[in-house]
Amino acid sequence: MSTGSAARDAHEGDAPDEGAEIDIEPDYRFTLANERTFLAWNRTSLGLIAGGVAVLQLVPEFGPTGSRHIVGALLAILGIVVSLASLRRWALVQRAMRRDADLPPSRLPLVLTGGLIVVTLAVVALVLAAR
């Protein structure tokens, strides 16, 4: 799911009329705001990875053998996806601002929500599987 939306993002980013626009560096406040948004997403990514580590390190064994490791791995994967997607998002936004174009729509919230739902359902399934 995440890979699919990243691919669609990439497709949208590669506008056919590339080179036709004039690139003008945006006001520094927009550049810095875009940078902070990127960093905020990356802290979200770090939070997800930390959640994965916490599940591995602190949570007692639950459900079938290896349940904790599956949940930890899912959280780490989600963290990686969010970090990579935020870099792509940052680049697309920066380019749009340089061309004074509309900001591209973001699928990052959808990716994050979908990923968290998947993790949550996995936890529920693993807990129920042990009963």
């Binding site: 902070r36 960093l39 990356n42 990514s45 930390a50 580590v53 780490a76």
Partner: protein, 111 residues
Amino acid sequence: MNRRTRRLTDRPGLQPERTALSWDRTAIGLLANGALLVFRSNHAGQIVLYIAAGFALLATLTCALLSRYRHRRILTVATTEIRAFTGGLLTVTGLIVGLGLVVLVAALSAL
């Protein structure tokens, strides 16, 4: 207040401060991951956790240095010369993805 009364091109205002704080919070996030990785890592064959923690510590240092470099750069050039920090952003993404991959390996190797 600054926005209304002063010329932006001359005075960067609070933007650099907020950006530097954002970078520093990211560094703290990396450090927290490192701390979690060595916390109670007494499982058998979890050397990979210590490797991951070492990586997180190096990543923290790198991120903090990037923060400092970026902040000084923003404050020393004219605001019209402030450019996107592409290299720094690529670096921090690489560090976080790297950390995620090590954690992923740690999770899967213990299965």
